[in-house]
Every structure is written in C-alpha cells, then in structure tokens.
C-alpha cells in the first residue's frame, strides 16, 4: 500500500539530475585531458595519429544511428505502435553490440602494439603520449561501461514493453532509459573529435 502517486515530469526531472552527475563524472577525465593537452600539444597530436580513425568514425555513426532508433522507439510507443517500438529497441541494442565489438578489435589492435596503461613501450614514447593513451583508455573504458549499462537498461524496458508493463500510457521508463542512451551518445560526440581528430 505504498503511496501510489504518479508524477512523470518528476521522474523525468530525476533522470535529468542523474544525467548531470554523469556529465560531471566524465568531466573529471576531460579536465585531465585539457590540462595535458595544453602541456603537450605536439605529443598529443602525434599520439592521436596512432589511433585508428576508421574505427572511431564507424563507432560515431553507429552511436548516432542508435540514438535515432531509440528516439524513434519512444515516438512509436507514444503513438501506440508497440511492434515498431520493440523492433527499434532491439535495433538500438544491436548497434550497441556492434559498437562494443568494434571497440574490442580496436583495443586488441593497440594492445597488440604494446600500447596500454602502464606498458613499458608507452612509457618510452614520452610523457605526452603516455598521458594521452592513459586518458584515452580510461575515458573510452568508462564510456564503454556506460554503453553496456545503457543497452542492458533498454533490453529490460523492451521486455517490459513486450509484457505491456510499459505502455503508450506509462512510458516513463522507456523515456528515461532513452535519455540515458542519448547521454552515452553525447559523451562520445566529444570523445571522438578530442581523441581521434586532433592534428
């Protein structure tokens, strides 16, 4: 008999507040990035050349598209097109998986070159490069974690939608997990140019 008051706006606002905390969380790493960049501009661009821009670009497209699909999913549900909504949700998750697989290959390639936090080789490449890759790994890693969490959330919600726990009347859950997913996209929108594109 707990209090059954419903407040969708409140729920959304809560989600936004949570997203703020996520942004600040990442900003810690971006501060470190900014400082190191201002210290070693050349070494940074040198290091960013070592990254494979194709992986980066593909993943950007993947995430942007997934953002689109989840946004569409919400509209679909609102318009009562449950089937479409489900398809779109699963597409989003599919794209998330593509993203992670991509990352896996990218990282294994770099680790293959002996570039990973704390490696001897990295230490020898000079402070700037080392700083760049440390930050790259930690930022991308944290982001990857968020991709994983976001995908899981969406999966859960998709199931609930299938079971009509989430409906065109009560879709805040879907809306909030969509919000979360967009945040994942937002972070990448900054990670991509900052790590792959500086010359």
């Amino acid at each position: 008999m707990s209090i059954e008051h419903r407040d969708d706006t409140g729920d959304r606002f809560g989600m936004w507040l949570f997203l703020y905390t996520e942004v600040i969380l990442f900003s810690g790493l971006f501060i470190l990035y900014a400082v190191s960049l201002s210290k070693f501009p050349e070494q940074f661009s040198e290091a960013s050349h070592k990254l494979n821009i194709y992986f980066g670009t593909i993943n950007t497209l993947v995430l942007l598209t997934s953002s689109l699909t989840i946004a569409l999913a919400l509209s679909a549900l609102q318009m009562g097109r449950k089937k479409q909504c489900l398809i779109l949700c699963w597409t989003t998750i599919g794209l998330a998986i593509v993203f992670l697989i991509n990352k896996y290959f990218e990282w294994s390639a770099e680790i293959g070159h002996g570039i990973y936090p704390g490696s001897e080789q990295l230490a020898e490449m000079g402070p700037g490069v080392a700083a760049f890759f440390n930050l790259y790994y930690f930022t991308a890693g944290l982001h990857g974690l968020h991709v994983f969490i976001g995908a899981t959330l969406i999966a859960v919600v998709a199931v609930m939608t299938a079971k009509d726990k989430v409906t065109s009347e009560r879709f805040t859950l879907l809306e909030n997990s969509a919000l979360y997913w967009h945040l994942v996209d937002l972070v990448w929108i900054f990670v991509f140019p900052l790590y792959y594109l500086i010359l």
Binding site: M1, S2, I3, H5, D7, T9, G10, D11, F13, G14, L17, F18, Y20, T21, E22, I24, L25, F26, S27, G28, L29, I31, L32, V35, S36, K39, F40, Q43, Y116, P117, G118, A123, G126, P127, G128, V129, A130, A131, F132, N134, L135, Y137, F138, L142
Partner: protein
Amino acid sequence: MSKSTTYTGFWQESPRPGILGWLLTTDHKRIGIMYLCCIIATFIVGACLGLAIRLELIAPGRTIMDAQTYNATFTLHGILMIFMFLIPSIPAAFGNLLLPIHIGARDVSFPKLNLLSWYCYMIGALLAVLAIFSGGGTPDTGWTFYVPFSTQTTTNVSMAAFAAFMLGFSSILTGINFVTTVHRLRCKGMTWGRMPLFVWTLYATAWIQVLATPMIGITLVLIILERVFGAGLFDAARGGDPVLYQHLFWIYSHPAVYIMILPGMGVISEVIPTFARKPLFGYWAMALSSLAIAFAGSLVWAHHMYASGMSDFAILVFSFLTFIVAIPSAIKVFNWVSTLYKGSIELAPPMLFALAFIFNFAIGGLGGLALGAAASDIHLHDTTFVVGHFHYVMFGGGGFALFAAMHYWLPKFTGRMYNHKTAMIAWGLLFVGFNITYMAMQAVGIMGMPRRYNDYVPEFTTLNMVSTVGSWVMAIGLIIMFVNLWQGLRRGRPIGMNPWGAATLEWTIPSPPPLENFGVEDPVVTKGPYEFKGVVADEY
C-alpha cells in the same frame, strides 16, 4: 489529540511485519531512522578513534601506538567522520525524517531510490570496515588520499577509496531525491516563501550533492585504476601532475564541507525562532544566503593548496573567492542573533545546542578567514590549527547542530521526552570540553606543530596535554548525552503533538507521525513556518 501512550505511529504501521518491514521499507521516516542509527554508531566508533589519537598525543614519544598505527587511526577517523558520519548525518537522517513532512508531502519523490541509497551507504560502510582488516593493512593516507603516496603505499587504499565511492553514490541519490521532492511535491499553499529554512538548506545542499559528488567519484576511481595499472596519471615523469590530483579532490571536498554545515544551519534556523517564539529575522536573506553558500562554495576549492606549488595567480583568485564565501555565513550569524531581539527566549536543550553552534561556528569560521588569507595560510597550512578549525566547524558546527536536531525532533518521532536537566549537564560538559580541546589544538598549531604528527618536539607538550584532557571532559559529556537521550526516548514521559510550541507542519500531526504522515486529505498551508500567533505548546 488524545493519543493513548500505546500509540506508536509509523513504528508499527508497515506493509510488512518485523525486520523486513524495515529492510524493505520505502517509508521516508523508517529510512531516516535507519540512517540515524548507522550514523550514531559511526560517530561513536570514530569518536573513540579520536580519543585514541588524543591519548597518543598527550605526551611526546610513543604513548599507546606506533607511527603506522597512528597514521591508520587518523585516516580511519577522518574517513568515518566525514564520509560516513557528517555528510549523511543531517541530510540523510533528519532530512529523510522531515523534508516530506515539512513540505506537506507523504513521502519523497523516489521512495525506492531512497532505500537504495541506504543500501549503497551500508555497502560503503561494509567495505570501509573490510578495508581495515584485509589486504595490505589499514589505509594510512589520511582522508585526502594525496598522490603519489596513496598510489605507492602498500596498505589497502583501493578498498577504502571504493568505499568512499559507494558512500558518495548514496549521497548523490539522496540529493537527486531531495531536489525533485522539493520541486514536485510541495503541498497546496506551500509556496517557496513558506518553506521552512531547513528545507531551503536541504535543497541547496542537495544541489551540491548532485553537482559536486561525481567529481570525487571519478577521482577515487582514478586512484584505484592507478594502483591497478600503474599508468602514471599523476606521475610527472609520465605526463601526469600530482597537484592536479589535489584540484580534482578539493573540487568535491570543499563543497562537501558545505554539505556538512548547510543542513546544520537549517536546523539552527528552525530551533532559534521556536525558542524565541519570534519569526526568523530576514527570511529571504537566510534562504538566499543558503543558495549563495552552495554556489560560492564551489568556487573556492584551491584554498587548500596555497602551499602545494600552485600558481600564484590561482592563489590570488582563490583567496579572493574564499573571502566571498564568508559573507553569506556572516549574514546568517547576524540574522540568528537578531532573531533573539525582543523575543521570549526559553533555554531548552535544543536551544542551548543551537547557541553553542553559533559560538563554535563563529570561532571556526573566523579561523577559516585566517586560513583563507594567502600569507597567514602559508604558516598555518597543515598545522594543528587547521585541525582545530575544522573540528570547530564540523564538530562544533555540524556535530552540535545534529545534537540540537536530536533533542529537538527525536521526541517527535518517538513520542517521548528525555530528561531536560541531564541534557543540560551533558551540554555543559560537552561545550566546555570541546572548547578546551580545540582551543589548545589551535594554539599549538599557531606555534607551528604540523598535523598528522604522532610525535612532536617538547615545546608543544603542555598544550597537547590540555587538549587531551579536554577530550575526556567532552567524552563524559557525550556519554551522558547519549545515555540520557536513549533512556528518555524509550521510557520518558509521553508527549503530545507540539511540545515546543513550534509552527512548522510536523507539529500538527501526531507524535510519532503515522505512515504517510497526514490523514486522508493532504494538508493545505495558509501561513509561514514561523508564525507562532495562536500556537500553544502542549504540556508533557
């Protein structure tokens, strides 16, 4: 309101019986009580560690423990007292108990999230305890985890850092909950101008919790990663920067000190009008200065780093900003004092603690000014003067505010009253002991005794001894206080709805309050929180 003494409000009413009724509850009052218990327990442990520290420092040379143990002790003491006691103390315990009632709501916006935050707290606490006994031994970095030491020491820093991370997460959830609640669940007629100041301060605090805490999250994670991978994020040889770590740490940890004091200020702003039977002086000044403190408080973090090798320009900027934060606090003090003017003042225990708060906080805060000025901080930095300063604001401020809140509101939630005389004796001992302890500590700091020293040169002996003796007086006071509260709240005289004759909403409902606080229909507010006209205190 003829409640028979068998009535027990939310203590009995619960969807689930027995212990599960607590562990799975989403009732803000029950969660508040659970928080309160954990916090008191933490305080007692931490406090006894504090006693141990003082005992070691009673004389030069080794008294009761060796250097390594000492380092572990004050590290533990600091972590417990800050992350597990003071930060959650008033917001998580009394905030949960009162915020919904104060704004005429039946619960917070996200009751389940609220419970989750308590579990995060428990996990954090558990990890903190594990960190003591597992791995390479109890952490010995100080609560500040400064690199490179924290990434090199063999002790179990990673787990302690992760514990702090979880505690931070719990604090974030509380913050999200409170901001949303205040925005969404205010009852009919509860305009912003009618919110009790306690709510205002909690609201300001909640914003800090939301916007600053993640920074400590990432910082602690980086320490852990650093210890795992040895990547050299903060190692100059590998492009890192040890001073940058200090920035990241203080970006959270300075705002955190306002998380610790703001709710306390809120409590005082409730207690003083009640026992002066007079509206709080300058309501809007008080409300806005709370927001001002919250905002300005997040601009000053680097005043902890004047001696760290930071650029002089930064020192100029941060010293300036630091003095700006002092102003809203000054406004508050002046308004409290002038609330007393032409009032009708009753020195009940909560009032005594409130007045002690003003005195202690003034001393601590004014000490903060000496620390805020660049030149004088160079001498005082990392001396026991700083230790004195923050005990004055944290214990003399935050702590005393908590005690005030306990004496003011706990009767409401147990429906019973403690013994006033004993409470006053306890207060006296506590107040005197407190000032002896930390005055001496500040004095020896001015003489130049560095902090985190388990041993010191002979000149410092006398004052350290005084300080230690003071801590014993304080201990006796605290024990009496706790025992008195415990007995009173269990067997004391039953009270009616409004023992103090206060005007905020919680005093218009039975004590202890029922589940969902208000009867069938939601309350409608028609007057401000401090309009005592016609409000009578009922006898007990």
